[in-house]
Amino acid sequence: MAKTGFLPKEKIKDFLDALSKDAQVHVPVKEGDIVAFKPYSADAEICLTRPANTSPKAVIYPQCDKLLSFEYTKDPEDNKKTSITLSDKRDYPNAVIFGCRPCDAKGFTIFDKVFVTADYVDPYYREHREKTTIISLACETPFAGCFCVAVDGGPADKVGSDVLMTDVEKGYYLESLTEKGDKVLSLPMIQEGASYQAAAQKIQTEAAAKVKNPLPKGATEKVNPTLFDTDEFWQQVAAKCISCGACTYLCPTCYCFNITDEAARDKGERIRTWDACMFQHFTLETSGHNPRPVKSRRLRQRVGHKFAYYPEKYDGVIACCGCGRCIRHCPVSVDISEIVGYLKDPGQDPKTWIERNTKAAKDGSL
């Protein structure tokens, strides 16, 4: 039987203080109108009533991470000779993510399959991941754009979390899902939880019923391959996209990155930074050729990666957790669940799509 516990609401600060003794704790903090994950401090205004604007992925997968540092040294005896010293030394702290949602936690399981493989292990990701404990908060109600139930998720989904908290009024019912979770539940302020299990179960079941599935009835498991390869379809759905990176950077499952050298004179660093397949220059080659020159192709790549390519490679797992951030924060409200709805509509006929949209802009700008 999995370990359970109960954390009274008045003990939250003590709990976070205790966790902070040997880890950097990241909590959702209200700053003006937004909620963003920040390192916990005593005066932080923690906000658990709505999902954070940003996902907590920066804790395990920083937006800027040093891969290695390099230094050129001239030989004092022969100034034509230079040697290079490389170092990939890293010293990541332990970390705890507190108060993220189950969709956020699920995002890390998507990364795991990519960054830790039989062929290659990304040591930076693995070390961050192993040193981080994830304490998720089950959702009681969906927010605008949420569609976790349509992508094999749910408001109380346990995948990816070490501990799942459910708000049972006086405090939080805690369920440990891993060894790391067990450690958390053994902290002194955690009380016995069995008596709250039924209440938590009820809340979780009611929440799942509230989340609407935006996909059509009988949605196909795989995307319609003909529609997926229809240029006119992508031109239509991508017409309003402005090719920024907001969706990608807020997404808990997006992980595309760039590697650049930033140096000053003879010393510098090779850093990894977030990048977005939505940016125009993402696939731009030195020759000037760009295999994805128009935004319709780039949107096709983003949707295709999440709903077709990744599932094909990893046994049907969809690389989207349905958190809805991309929909909520897109400057023009591109709705990925709507696009996937078209692609998985069992009644969809690509020929009819083209006929119904006969004036699809063919001037090459889309």
Partner: protein, 283 residues
């Protein structure tokens, strides 16, 4: 100074190994070949790779770029990479000297299925710098000549000075067990061999498809017409091999840039048969 390069598994796949440039050959006005040797002699001794695999060369402070290892594994005194001057990293590489240090992450990617090609005729069709990956396989096959039947090489460039590996070309011309057909795009003073674009020459030479594997590499426009030409000559798609390129960063199939569907050109490629490419979505 640095740990061993990890591309074979355990350590850090992003950490390059330091190598010294032992020789620089000016192949053409804008292409140089760099012969490099790992600073760690143990590593150089134990290094293995397959023809077609690539390496990422680092100029620290500038960046990294991908180049095929175009010396064969049968000649391991050095690793050779040919670099065409085009952008930031390649232009910077063109300014270094023999004796300078660079970073190498190798071997990466997949390789030519040379085992399956044994006992067959081989047709190489290359243009310009596209000869670089072909050279690896040509030399490998010449070093294992008995395993392969007829070897034909059609190679063209814009002008005679733009032909790479001029020493190799001379050697191959003189060999009786290799049929080398060179061409340049237009007439050129002092050039007494063929004139014409590579796809045109391919049509003229009209190699037979039966039990022949065709391998082509060159500028995208040339590949497009060569593939059409090979189809016209009835080459089946599984017997046509090409190497692709794209903007690359990680080189290990993670960063999301060079994928066609779920296959990454850096990891599942760059070598693909036409049959495989037909199955994959466009990039």
């Amino acid at each position: 100074m640095t740990e061993n390069c990890t591309c074979n598994g355990d350590n850090n796949p992003y950490l390059p190994e330091i190598a010294t440039v032992t020789r620089i050959i000016e192949e053409t006005p804008n292409i140089k070949s760099f012969q490099v040797v790992f600073n760690d002699p143990e590593r150089m001794k134990n290094f293995t790779f397959e023809p077609g695999q690539v390496g990422q060369l680092s100029l620290f402070g500038v960046g990294e770029a991908t180049f095929v290892i175009n010396s064969p594994p049968t000649r391991m005194e050095y690793l050779q990479f040919s670099v065409m001057k085009a952008g930031e990293v390649t232009s910077a590489l063109h300014t270094i000297y023999e004796g300078d240090q660079i970073g190498v992450r190798a071997p990466l990617g997949n390789y030519f299925p040379y085992e399956d090609m044994k006992g067959k005729n081989i047709l190489f069709v290359g243009g310009g710098i596209g000869m670089a990956p072909l050279r690896t396989l040509i030399l490998y096959m010449l070093d294992n000549r008995a395993d392969y039947k007829d070897i034909t090489i059609i190679y063209g460039a814009r002008t005679p000075p733009d032909l790479c590996y001029k020493d190799d070309l001379k050697e191959w011309e003189e060999r009786s067990d290799v049929n080398l057909i060179l061409t340049v795009d237009n007439e050129f003073p002092g050039w007494d061999k063929r004139v014409g674009f590579v796809p045109t020459v391919l049509k003229e030479v009209a190699p037979k498809w039966f039990e022949t594997i065709a391998i082509t590499c060159g500028p995208p426009i040339m590949i497009k017409f060569v593939l059409e030409g090979l189809a016209g000559l009835n080459f089946p798609d599984e017997n046509i091999i090409t190497t692709l390129e794209a903007r690359m960063k990680c080189g290990i199939g993670i960063c999301g840039r060079c994928n066609m569907g779920h296959k990454y050109i850096c990891k599942d490629g760059p070598v693909f048969t036409l049959a495989q490419l037909n199955e994959l979505p466009e990039i």
